[in-house]
């Protein structure tokens, strides 16, 4: 079963473990014929297409769940939404066989909606077209182990900015690479963009809107693959 769900603003602070526990308990309450792993400590067979960081909400996150018997998509959707809190609704369900590779293996890109409010929002919005004209943009990527300078430009596939003067808000949409070797995190992108624009990064709200695979080099939502 492939479940697409939303992680609302209210519960954006849930980390992966919290989300895992919540989904497991919801599955147990749902009455669906869930499958347990074999072994000493049996657990529900399920996996997320991608872990969404604590603090970031998501519009279309994916959960892959194994069931013992086949159940219709409608039944599953209805059963899950009966037991999930309103801030974590399942939006779509698709019956998929337990094929290999898993859906998550097809993940290539992610799309984010980013809202910048106040101070240098306009300056940043204005810089986007020139920023996109560059072929190389170096940024400092920090991981737990090391800090490395990387060219992030090839990992950025789409970036649009929409500035609203009345509210002094800049709304950006960014589509970026999301594969093990090359993942561009939205906060790093924003830092680099603000840096490029010579601006102070204002308050920044990030939301993941899509998880994408590629079909003939064109982005397609993972759920529809």
């Amino acid at each position: 079963m492939l479940l697409e769900f939303r992680k609302d603003d209210l519960v954006r602070h849930l980390g992966l473990l919290d989300l895992q526990r919540t989904m497991q308990r919801a599955l147990r309450r749902s009455g669906l014929p869930i499958a347990y792993s074999n072994g000493f400590n049996p657990h529900i067979v399920m996996s997320f297409a991608s872990a969404l960081s604590s603090g970031i909400p998501g519009d279309a996150e994916l959960l892959d769940v194994s069931l013992k018997e086949e159940v219709s998509a409608e039944t599953c959707l209805e059963a899950m939404n009966r037991v999930l809190p309103p801030s974590l609704p399942v939006t779509r369900v698709r019956v998929v066989d337990d094929r290999f590779p898993k859906v998550s293996a097809a993940l290539r890109q992610a799309q984010y909606a980013i809202t910048l409010t106040g101070s240098d929002a306009k300056k940043i919005a204005d810089a986007v077209p020139i920023f996109l004209g560059e072929t190389e943009i170096m940024a400092l990527r920090k991981t737990k182990r090391q800090e490395t300078m990387v060219n992030i430009r090839p990992m950025l596939h789409e970036l649009t900015a929409d500035y609203d003067e009345a509210s002094d808000v800049c709304r950006l949409t960014a589509r970026v690479s999301f594969v093990e070797a090359a993942t561009l995190k939205p906060d790093l992108l924003m830092e680099a963009l603000a840096n490029y624009a010579g601006a102070e990064l204002p308050r920044c709200e990030i939301r993941r809107t899509k998880l994408l695979g590629l079909v003939d080099d064109k982005p397609v939502p993972l759920f529809d693959l």
């Binding site: 209210l10 849930l14 919290d18 919540t22 497991q24 308990r25 599955l27 147990r28 037991v83 809190p85």
Partner: protein, 613 residues
């Protein structure tokens, strides 16, 4: 607006899930549809408060009323509390993020003395005046209950009314009174007067204490006609018909006791002389097996939890425990629900049940031995022998367990260094038992976890007259224990005596320690139960500034005829019974479990108590 402000803070604090709300099964009601909005506060962080069974029971009971709603309040951790002050965000409820100061009633549960400074912090963060006399109808009626309410005096200045004993009925009665008073438009003072007439309710502003020259209590009297001289505790006689939640909130974040908790019985008849809970929660009342099984099914269906705990002061004493455990295992095997049985009593027939339990999960076994020698265990009336322990661990090792926890106290009345050596002796014998178990059947990785805490004499126990060891005495004993506890396979932990010393002061304190509490809070004390937040120096400074000697409360022996600050409360057990037990303790005489014959503790005076016995 407030909600947005709070939301912005959540990006800046540790564990924001503590303040998030919106969990499965939390109750959201329209505030316009009810007469009474009740905020229920647990004076510690979310993950601790959410683990407390009593709060969940009361949350459920209040929300079952059509004319009332209950929302949860927890103590924000220090980072959040500081941010809230800086950003002018008042303390808020979890459900609707409403300011706590705007509720009609604020209930606070008193589970341990070291949460008292947090109560002041909660009042302050909620912008509620600290002192009862400064409050108006714009503030909630502040009610406190729980085990520590059996000596309410250290909090007399901050709480409008205390609810003493079982809260199921009392909570509803206090809501009725406050609702009625608000509708009639009577004064707040009149409302408190009416509350004081309810059984089990103590309104401190309607009483006055005076003191002798030596500092002991001289008199304690009501200051108005019609205010009861004695406050009699509340008691739910029939647990089967008492309300119990059939649906509980499932937190997103991991909490301390993250599982279904079913109270199988209330009270304990063993009569351990150090144990306050065993005295104040009398008599023993059992929930029927039928009701427990019914609750278990409903709660598993409603929560999706993967574990059930059967809780009580002494679950091993539940009359049909093996049968119940077996039944639960059977019914929930398919759903992979594990069963854990805390406070296992060694002398209960649980072998078979244990065999069942391990089919699902193997956890460590806990034995509360409390004292190292038989003599001292007789003094405290802990009816466990060395043979009981040895036969039980021997079975456990043969059954594949390898992790054992042993709990002890030190500083018990009449204790000698021989008794301390007894602790080491028992631990070594457990280790030996493990190595005597054939290699092919015992599990690998022996772990004997031995911990010793400092004894704190509590009100309404036979040791309520006893002095606590001084910090110096505790430290000496602790050093000795560390020396003798160097045993291979044994890990030894002890508790710092400083916190226990303060606990002893507030457990048996009178009205004069209320000032110390306020002073300590002003000096920055909060979360005193958390080692990283506790500041003994600030506390000592507070005592000094108030001119109060903590040793007077912690380390002084009380005479038999001294008027004790909590003597105006009828807790069920009589002072005569407690003194009788004290005399037997000193003579190292045991008293049998009252199920085997009435010991005349006083509970028979209560209607419906001790039925069929």
């Amino acid at each position: 607006m407030l909600s947005k402000k709070i939301d912005a803070l959540l990006d800046r604090v540790q564990k924001p899930a503590r303040y998030m709300g919106g969990e499965m099964n939390c109750v959201l009601k329209d505030p316009a549809s009810v007469a009474i909005r009740y905020a229920f506060a647990f004076p510690d962080v979310y993950e601790v408060g959410m683990s407390h069974l009593g709060s969940r029971i009361l949350y459920d009971i209040i929300n079952k009323r059509d004319d009332a709603l209950c929302e949860r309040v927890f103590m924000p951790w220090v980072d959040m509390a500081d941010l809230m002050r800086a950003e002018d965000v008042p303390l808020f409820s979890i459900e609707t993020r409403s300011p706590v100061g705007g509720f009609d009633m604020l209930g606070i549960t008193l589970q341990y003395e070291m949460s008292y400074t947090n109560i002041l912090e909660i009042l302050d963060l909620a912008h509620i005046p600290l002192h009862s006399e400064d409050r108006t109808w714009d503030d909630p009626i502040v009610i406190a209950g729980g085990p520590c309410a059996f000596n309410p005096e250290p909090l007399y200045h901050f709480i409008d009314a205390f609810s003493i004993g079982d809260g199921e009925i009392s909570t509803l009665e206090t809501i009725d009174v406050v609702k009625q008073c608000k509708q009639e438009g009577v004064s707040r003072k009149e409302c408190l007067r009416r509350l004081a007439k309810l059984r089990g309710v103590y309104v401190p502003s309607l009483y006055e204490a005076s003191y002798n020259e030596d500092g002991t209590l001289k008199a304690f009297e009501p200051i108005e006609e019609g205010v009861p001289r004695t406050v009699v505790k509340n008691m739910v006689a029939d647990l089967d018909h008492a309300e119990y939640p059939e649906s509980i909130i499932v937190p997103f974040m991991e909490i301390v006791h993250d599982r279904i908790n079913i109270e199988v019985l209330r009270g304990c008849t063993r009569g351990c002389r150090f144990c306050q809970a065993g005295m104040i929660y009398r008599p023993v009342r059992e929930r029927s097996m039928e009701r427990i099984l019914d609750l278990a099914k409903k709660l598993v269906d409603e929560t999706g939890y993967e574990e059930i705990t059967l809780s009580s002061l002494s679950t091993g004493d539940y009359s049909c425990l093996p049968q119940l455990a077996h039944e639960l295992m059977e019914r929930f095997a398919e759903k992979r629900v594990a069963l854990s049985l805390p406070s296992l009593r060694l002398d209960s027939e649980l072998k078979e049940t244990l065999e069942e339990t391990q089919k699902v999960k193997k956890t460590s076994l806990t034995y509360a031995m409390e004292a190292g020698t038989q003599r001292l265990r007789d003094v405290i009336n802990k009816g466990i022998t060395e043979e009981d322990l040895m036969s039980s661990v021997s079975d456990a090792f043969a059954g594949g367990w390898s992790s054992i926890k042993l709990y002890f106290m030190f500083g018990l009345p009449t204790e000698t260094y021989e008794d301390l050596d007894g602790i080491a002796d028992l631990a070594s014998k457990v280790v030996r038992k493990y190595f005597e178990t054939p290699k092919n059947i015992r599990a690998r990785g022996l772990r004997v976890n031995c911990s010793a805490s400092c004894f704190v004499p509590k009100p309404f126990t036979p040791f309520q007259w006893e002095p606590q060891d001084t910090i110096e005495e505790f430290t000496e004993k602790q050093k000795h224990l560390c020396r003798v506890m160097r045993i291979k396979g044994v890990e030894f932990n002890w508790h710092e005596p400083h916190v226990s010393f303060l606990e002893a002061v507030f457990a048996r304190g009178d009205r004069r320690v209320a000032d110390v509490l306020e002073q300590a809070w002003k000096l920055g004390c909060r979360f005193d139960g958390w080692t990283d937040q506790f500041s003994f120096d600030n506390w000592m400074k507070a005592f000094e500034l108030c001119g109060v000697d903590p040793a007077f409360y912690a380390n002084r022996r009380r005479e038999k005829d001294e008027l004790l600050p909590w003597a105006f409360i009828d807790a069920g057990v009589t002072q005569q019974y407690l003194w009788r037990e004290r005399e037997r303790a000193v003579a190292a005489q045991t008293t049998p479990d009252c199920r085997k014959g009435c010991q005349g503790c006083g509970l028979k005076r209560f209607e419906g108590a001790c039925e069929g016995r």
